[in-house]
């Protein structure tokens, strides 16, 4: 029985380590196999996780994906961990940048939910163009940009107000669309949600690929939240 306890704890430890993958870790593979075979272990692990304010999102041969149960969990990152002192405009623009990156990788819900299909690699330009293209289209649809009440200003106008890029800017900054996308990408890479692939030829743009973890986070957490948010706005 002790063995079960330590297996559950070790599995949680592995899952919390962003760089651990079953592909190059024999023990992780064995633990996963045991977990999938044993309902007791599953139950035990779920209980330990619950006590630690964690929740199991997905388990597959690609690994165990766990997430913080609540925003206030000690295991949850905070916006301040990513970047401090973001203004309201910048927060909105950053959130939309994250969503645009996800939308380029996973345009359809069907793609997210089908584990056997993989998203295409994408370039920085594709993320940027998705964001500017969408906000540009909405801008064109809008009759006038006169918002008598500032709080009714739509999110896309935050994007519209930013320059696409700032010449000779090396650092990812929230003052341009490209800078925002680059910032978002850096965070996603840092937390093992996106990988960057070296360009094949000189002069070709660096490509990014989505990891399995991004799919699960998106499918289990972000997408339902976004859907709830959009729906609550529609009914309000």
């Amino acid at each position: 029985m002790d063995n079960q306890n330590s297996a559950a704890a070790r599995l949680i430890y592995r899952a919390l380590n962003l760089s651990a993958t079953p592909a190059n870790d024999v023990e992780y593979r064995e633990l996963l196999a045991r977990y999938r075979a044993s309902p007791e272990l599953q139950q035990l692990l779920a209980e330990i996780a619950e006590g630690m304010e964690l929740v199991v999102l997905d388990v597959s041969e690609r690994g165990l994906i766990i997430a913080p149960a609540r925003k206030e969990s000690r295991f949850s990152i905070r916006l301040g961990d990513l970047r401090k002192n973001l203004s309201e405009d910048q927060r909105v623009a950053l959130a939309l940048s994250f969503l645009a990156i996800c939308a380029v990788f996973y345009p359809t819900t069907a793609l997210i939910e089908d584990d056997s299909r993989f998203p295409m690699p994408a370039t920085l330009a594709m993320f940027r163009d998705t964001l500017t293209g969408l906000s540009g289209r909405m801008n064109a649809l809008e009759d006038s940009d006169d918002y008598s009440r500032e709080e009714l200003r739509p999110g896309w106008s935050y994007i519209q107000s930013l320059p696409v890029s700032i010449p000779q800017a090396d650092r990812a900054s929230p003052n341009s669309i490209e800078g925002l996308v680059r910032m978002a990408l850096n965070y996603l890479i840092e937390y093992g949600l996106v990988n960057n692939v070296r360009a094949q030829d000189e002069g070709e743009a660096v490509e990014f690929t989505a990891t399995h973890r991004l799919r699960i986070q998106l499918r289990e957490r972000t997408l339902p939240r976004l859907f709830d948010y959009v729906r609550s706005g529609a009914t309000a």
Binding site: I66, P119, V230
Partner: protein, 488 residues
């Protein structure tokens, strides 16, 4: 006739340097022109279908030279023109000069001209002309060809001028030619001046751009098919472009292969730096175009497989959460929502993307490295809108110059000689009575405050203690009382 009286080519040029110039330029050209002269002499024997003279109103010499020139240009930036190319060229040349001639007559005349250059009359053997070689007192046979017809890598027969053919052409341009090397140099020079290489380079560049376009289009369509199966139609969106690409690749592969071969040969032959550079840049361009084309070919050959893979994905059964698509529904709708509301949900949305991580504990080495980190100043620093101003550094004059302090100290020392207690306000009053101005009165207070600690005091026999507050017209503050120290 004595030999010495004969005009001798080698005399005028010194020792003969090669076989080609064993004759004087004039004599040599005369021999090389012999085949054309023969055609000229026999031109009236050639008749068209109606029995009319075939070369009526045509200059056979001009036609032959033009044909040779055409072949030269073809072989300069390629492996030469094919038989059909040459024939078409001569044909159109004749019909341009004599538009009234029937097409069959033109074609026949073209055959005769090309036949003349390639010695059709002698069954395509070498031309043979005899000449008297004075130094050896012998009649020698001069054998040569004007054009060569050889198959290229693809087994297509192509015309090229022979070395003698080049010699004849250059001779007609009235350029002295000493040997084969210089002959080639001169010819390259002429071709460069005529802009033939720029033309070839321009063609290659355009073809390369087209390769890239084809590749991007196919790549884009396949990517779209993978992202959203069912939105791309094979027959309308991909197939036409694939067919075009295949044709393009085939045509350019042949053309550029020949060109590359020709250029490699030529680079070895020329020594002129400019010609070498031109050739080498053209060569580089062609190699690059080849790589681009290879990638296009890869894209073309894998398109079908990848498209089918993408399409089958559309038929797979799977559980569905029923949540609308991110790209077409959720993201646009989120963007429409008021930004102020979105800002509240933003943190939740962003954070929900991130996995569970170990809480970050700052350890000493992390803290140190953060402290040691040197921020790089960049142009897009957050608040750089306000331009800072430089303020000149102001020098404030010392309110109590040394002289004044000395004067007041002496005055105070005199007062403390009286061996009694003094307070600041009493001393300022005393000073006022003696006619001290405001600065001097302030200086009294300054000197007394300086003497507050015993270690700094100027008045060794007195000890300062705090004694309420005082206020005069020029200075106010805590009052100090200087008591006489009791002797121990």
């Amino acid at each position: 006739m004595p030999n010495e009286q004969l005009p001798d080519a080698s005399d005028s040029l010194g020792e003969p340097k090669s076989e080609l110039i064993d004759l004087s330029p004039q004599l040599r050209n005369q021999r090389l022109l012999e085949p054309m002269n023969q055609l000229h002499a026999t031109r009236n024997f050639h008749q068209d279908e109606d029995g009319e003279p075939l070369f009526d109103g045509l200059d056979t010499h001009y036609l032959c030279m033009a044909t040779l020139n055409f072949m030269m240009e073809g072989s300069a930036v390629g492996a030469g023109y094919s038989m059909a190319d040459v024939h078409t060229y001569v044909n159109s040349l004749i019909s341009r000069i004599r538009p009234e001639k029937s097409s069959s007559a033109c074609a026949k005349a073209a055959d005769v001209v090309i036949g003349c250059l390639s010695n059709k009359a002698e069954n395509y053997k070498e031309f043979e002309f005899t000449y008297f070689h004075a130094p050896t007192l012998q009649t020698l046979v001069y054998r040569f060809r004007l054009v060569t017809l050889e198959p290229d890598l693809d087994d297509v027969y192509r015309y090229r001028p022979s070395p003698e053919g080049y010699l004849l052409l250059i001779g007609m341009l009235n350029v002295d030619v000493e040997d084969q090397q210089i002959l080639m140099e001169k010819m390259m020079q002429i071709l460069i001046e005529r802009g033939r290489f720029e033309q070839a380079a321009e063609f290659a560049r355009r073809a390369m751009v087209l390769s890239i376009e084809h590749r991007q289009h196919i790549h884009g369509q396949i990517t779209q098919a993978i992202r959203a199966p069912g939105t791309v139609r094979w027959s309308a969106d991909i197939k036409p472009r694939l067919d075009e690409s295949r044709q393009h690749v085939k045509a350019r592969q042949e053309e550029e292969g020949r060109l590359l071969m020709a250029i490699r040969n030529k680079i070895g032959e020329v020594e002129n730096i400019k010609s070498k550079q031109e050739l080498s840049s053209l060569h580089d361009l062609l190699s690059k175009a080849g790589t681009v084309r290879a990638r296009l070919q890869l894209e073309v050959s894998s398109a079908e497989r990848r498209f089918i893979e993408a399409q089958t994905a559309a038929f797979r059964a799977r559980k569905s959460s029923g949540i609308p698509d991110l790209e077409t529904h959720l993201l646009p709708q989120a963007m429409i929502r008021p930004g102020a509301q979105l800002a509240q949900a933003a943190e939740d949305l962003i954070v929900s993307l991130f996995p569970a991580v170990f809480p970050k504990t700052p350890d000493l080495s992390n803290l140190l490295s953060i402290l040691m980190e040197r921020r790089q100043l960049t142009k897009d620093a957050d608040d750089d809108e306000d331009d800072d101003e430089f303020e000149p550094f102001q020098v404030w004059p010392d309110p109590f110059p040394d002289q004044l302090v000395v004067k007041i100290s002496q005055w105070l020392s005199a007062k403390f000689e009286e061996n009694r207690s003094w307070r600041i306000d009493e001393l300022i009053d005393a000073g006022t009575h003696e006619g001290f101005n405001a600065i001097e009165q302030q200086c009294i207070a300054f000197c007394l405050y300086r003497s507050f600690p015993d270690s700094e005091s100027e008045f060794e026999n007195h000890h300062a203690v705090l004694d309420g507050e005082y206020e005069t017209r020029v200075v106010r503050g805590d009052n100090l009382r200087f008591d006489v120290k009791t002797k121990v």
